[in-house]
């Protein structure tokens, strides 16, 4: 039986009264802002304030408000509430456009609100995992499909901001951590001589990073995303994107720098990649596709280490380097720097053999990877097992004055 319980008799009915459902709720003069719960919820809320509460609490509170407006069959209230929410989130994100935690917090909440609008839409396709109690909280009067599309578009925008922030933090660390830092004991003695370290990445200066620093930073990103209750599928996509960027920046540098095209860098690079793979496994992120994005780099590291002399060596290289283009393989072979006088430079005829073997490949023409490339993001439906009745507004939200309304 289609039944729709009266919204839970807690303070959110009062929240709605105080909201006033003004279309300009978030642009109201500042004198009203201090007593505006929407403003408090959206603009002044710090993720740390909600530590220890239900993840995505603002999303649940906002859904309860929308549900109440639906229950009283007031389409203007629904419009107003959703518009205020969406504009409010955009405003907060603009203000905190370099804050990873804040961006994660609102990505998490926007996705949760989107999931709620699906889970409680009344559409049976989204209700398969609902309990009978949860079904009582479904929308009764309005179909919010179009608003779901807007929230989905907003989620994409927030996701892109999140990636941009994370990339901005990681990018300056990549070259020194992946190509220049020597963590394998004894490799220094087998570095090619005659090249000064490049100053571009300040290898010897204060901006030098080791791989542990990159891993520490990724641990930090991962912990924040988990703490903020971001959907696990989104966390996987974040790391796939970040690992692609690490690969692209590292490989591009390798393709342009003779001093790092050596057997010893190949060895160090392979070791670094294995450390990153181990980190992914340790954090249960191995299914993210991140390792697959590193494939060209893994092959480049192997190419640096393989023998490069006989026709058999050429064949081995061609069958191994399937994720590198002919142009990239040839470039690395041309840049390859022998370790010492006992190792020979790669001969022109060897490179010609490789080119002849690979000529049937239909490789892309560009040498470098597009490190700004973004994989399309997906937000799979992730219903919550939580029941709306169990949501309580904690005192830390400073919304308690609503009880006096």
């Amino acid at each position: 039986r289609h039944r729709c319980a009266q919204p839970h008799a807690m303070s959110y009915r009062k929240i709605l009264k105080t909201f006033g459902f003004q279309t300009r709720i978030l642009t109201a003069p500042s004198i009203h802002r201090k007593s505006n719960p929407c403003h408090l919820l959206l603009s002044e809320l710090k993720p740390q304030t909600l530590a220890g509460t239900v993840p995505c609490l603002p999303a649940y509170i906002l859904y309860m408000c929308i549900r109440h407006a639906d229950y009283v069959n007031d389409d203007l209230k629904v419009h107003s509430l959703l518009t205020s929410t969406i504009n409010g989130i955009k405003k907060v994100l603009k203000k905190h456009n370099d804050d990873f935690e804040m961006t994660t917090f609102w990505l998490s909440n926007t996705c949760r609100l989107l999931h709620c609008l699906k889970q409680y839409s009344g559409d049976e396709g989204f209700m398969t995992r609902n309990t009978a109690k949860q079904n009582e909280h479904c929308l009764k009067n309005f179909d919010l499909t179009e608003y779901r599309q807007v929230l989905s578009d907003l989620s994409i925008q927030i996701y892109q901001q999140l990636i941009k922030i994370a990339e901005g933090v990681l990018q300056p660390m990549i070259v020194s951590a992946m190509l220049e830092n020597e963590s394998i004991q004894g490799l220094c003695g087998v570095k090619p001589t005659g090249y000064r370290k490049r100053s571009s990445s300040m290898a010897d200066g204060e901006n030098s990073y080791c791989l542990e620093a990159v891993i520490r930073q990724m641990n930090c990103f991962h912990t924040v995303m988990c703490d903020q209750g971001l959907d696990p599928e989104i966390i996987l996509q974040v790391f796939k994107q970040l690992f692609y960027m690490i690969t692209a920046v590292t490989l591009n540098n390798l393709l342009l720098r003779k001093d790092v095209c050596s057997w010893s860098t190949g060895m160090q690079l392979r070791y670094n990649i294995s450390q990153l793979e181990e980190w992914l496994r340790g954090r249960n992120l191995h299914q993210s596709g991140a390792v697959q994005t590193m494939e060209p780099l893994i092959q480049a590291a192997q190419l640096l280490q393989l023998k490069k002399k006989t026709p058999e060596d050429a064949e081995a290289i061609c069958s191994l380097c399937t994720s590198l283009s002919t142009q990239q393989i040839v470039k690395i072979l041309n840049l390859y720097t022998p370790l010492n006088e006992f190792e020979e430079r790669v001969t022109v005829s060897f490179i010609r053999t490789i080119q002849a073997q690979l000529q049937e490949r239909n490789d892309p023409q560009q040498l470098l990877l597009d490190y700004k490339h973004m994989f399309p993001v997906l937000f799979p439906f992730n219903p919550s097992s939580l029941t709306m009745d169990s949501i309580h507004i904690p005192a830390c939200l400073n919304l308690e004055f609503l009880n006096e309304v």
Partner: protein
């Protein structure tokens, strides 16, 4: 049998860009 639920009314929504435009013009209007 149980009465069939009333079909829900589709609420038309502006796009994200339109929403931003409206918000900006409202901000400009406000003193």
């Amino acid at each position: 049998g149980a009465p069939r639920p009333r079909p829900r009314v589709l609420l038309k929504a502006p796009t994200l860009a339109e929403m931003e435009e409206m918000n900006t013009s409202e901000e400009e209007e406000s003193p």
